[in-house]
């Protein structure tokens, strides 16, 4: 944490056009290079707004207050920041092959020949552990399952080698088995590629699987932020305690008794 931060937010506030109240206010946050930060909160907490504000994806006319300071040049979305959305199909064009998607992104941001871009595309699909990556280049989005489409979306997001990957509820639409695989994939990718990760979720259990630090949001305000182990073991905010209490795993007591 002694590194110069990749990104620091000072008193960040966001108000959507036409909204009476800010969706986010008073956010102070520093993200170190290669850090994996989980942002957790419920619907309406402002967690997605935070992700979009950092990625520069807020709708036009939104009012942004405070400062958002990058360590280097102002990042280019898609090249320096990768973004993965909740809906695995939403960011894919149904009429474009997977290879065409990747080649387009690669050649937009990197000086690559078509042939080199195609090779790189195959490598990316292998990195996101898509089965048979070379054949997948020829496939179209509808031929893949939800989990596979999310892997493809991740490959697109990391194609240009961003310094930061933001996953906004990227696993919420998937079943638990696929969810666990994607969480492990994101964690491994961040570590292998020396990339920072912001993982936005409503599930504190998932956050615990991969984050170095956890930030808890509620009603547009930061409730607490700290190292994962500390937040889980000794939460400071009452709200974090509620979230922990609501978590269900095998150690939670069953709600019904066995019947004879």
């Amino acid at each position: 944490m002694t590194d110069r931060p990749l990104l620091s937010l000072q008193q960040l506030a966001v108000t959507y056009p036409g909204a009476p109240l800010p969706a986010l206010q008073g956010i102070d946050l520093r993200l170190a290079p290669r850090e994996k930060l989980a942002v957790i909160g419920e619907s309406g907490s402002g967690k997605s707004t935070l992700a979009r504000a950092i990625a520069g994806l807020l709708p036009g006319g939104s009012h942004v207050g405070g400062d958002l300071i990058w360590s280097g040049d102002t990042p280019v979305p898609g090249r320096d920041i990768g973004f993965v959305f909740q809906d695995p199909g939403g960011s894919l064009d149904p009429l474009l092959s997977i290879g065409a998607h990747l080649v387009e992104v690669l050649r937009t941001h990197l000086p690559l020949s078509p042939r080199a871009a195609r090779d790189r595309a195959g490598d990316l699909l292998a990195q996101v552990r898509l089965p048979d990556p070379r054949a997948a280049l020829e496939g179209y989005p509808h031929q893949f399952s939800g989990g596979q489409r999310q892997r493809i979306a991740i490959a697109l997001a990391i194609a240009a080698g961003p310094a930061l990957l933001i996953a906004d509820e990227a696993t919420s639409a998937l079943d638990v088995l696929v969810q666990a695989e994607i969480v492990a994939l994101l964690r491994d990718l961040a570590e292998a590629r020396t990339m920072a990760l912001i993982f936005v979720t409503h599930d504190i259990g998932l956050a615990a699987q991969l984050a170095d630090r956890i930030a808890v949001l509620r009603n547009g305000r930061l409730q607490e932020i700290g190292p994962t182990a500390r937040v889980l073991a000794a939460p400071q905010a009452e709200y974090t305690r509620q979230l922990l209490a609501a978590h269900l795993d095998l150690s939670s007591p069953p709600l019904v008794e066995a019947r004879g």
């Binding site: 079943d175 638990v176 088995l177 409503h202 504190i204 994962t228 889980l232 269900l248 019904v256 019947r259």
Partner: protein, 259 residues
């Protein structure tokens, strides 16, 4: 005798490719108990729910519910009998007519199944809302103005308004925030105790399914691969899928502990 008995149910979807959605599925639910049905997406659990709810017909197999040959019921007899078997879906926003109000949605259930005079509906609607921990003054509100958690409570109120013996809950908590999920789980347990309901609780998250289920059936690729009391299935999983589902439950341990 079981309340619901499903025997050797099979269904093949004929699309661009033939998909065997269900293969000889058998299960039973006793009165007053919760059977958890768990499996990954695409395993056929929602297809099975649609068969039991008589929204689709199986290619083969039998369903008995409440002593009747459930698949033989038709027309008016089926519509009457439906009061005994209700459901709650995953997306509460989609489960109501886009222009429905809370009282309109509940009145429909009362009109069809309660036999109550129209004059008594308002009181009964207030009771139902109280039963699901909602304020009775929500009754005139359009459902589209309610939060997801409130909408799901209204969906539960609608399901119990017909006086059912079995409620099928298909991923009914998956779209809700974790804290709301916990409260609705507790509500379901209380309603089960008070009304003697049986549940078929369908989900992909074993941690949630286990919390509410007396027995658990695990489904994979259209087949039931394991059935048993919840404690036994979790403590001594037999099927490979069950072990994977258990391993996939996120725990509150810091990173690094994952395989």
């Amino acid at each position: 005798m079981s309340l619901l008995t499903v025997t050797d149910l099979s269904k093949t979807h004929h699309g661009a490719r033939r998909v065997r959605a269900l293969e000889d599925v058998s299960l039973s639910v006793d009165a007053g108990e919760t059977l958890g049905l768990v499996g990954p997406s695409g395993c056929g659990k929602s297809t099975l729910a649609r068969m039991i709810l008589r929204l689709d017909r199986p290619d083969a197999g039998a369903i008995r519910f409440d002593g009747q040959d459930w698949l033989a019921l038709r027309g008016r007899d089926l519509r009457r009998a439906r009061g005994g078997l209700q459901m709650v879906f995953q997306d509460p926003a989609a489960a109501f007519h886009p222009r429905a109000t809370v009282q309109g949605a509940l009145a429909e259930a009362l009109r069809l199944h309660s036999g109550m005079p129209r004059a008594a509906w308002a009181t009964r609607i207030a009771d139902l809302l109280t039963q699901v921990d909602l304020a009775p003054d929500l009754a005139p509100r359009p459902l589209s103005t309610l939060s997801g958690g409130q909408q799901q409570r209204v969906a539960i109120a609608r399901a119990i308004a017909t006086g059912p013996r079995l409620v099928v809950l298909d991923e009914a908590l998956s779209a809700l925030d974790t804290s709301i999920r916990g409260r609705i789980l507790a509500l379901l347990v209380r309603l089960q105790r008070d009304l003697g309901l049986a549940y078929l609780f369908i989900g992909h998250d074993l941690a949630v399914v286990r919390a509410i289920s007396h027995r658990i059936a695990v489904m994979d690729a259209g087949r039931i691969v394991e059935t048993g009391p919840a404690t036994k299935v979790l403590a001594h999983p037999q099927a490979d899928l069950t072990r994977r589902l258990i391993a996939a439950i996120p725990t509150l341990s810091p990173p690094g502990d994952l395989p």
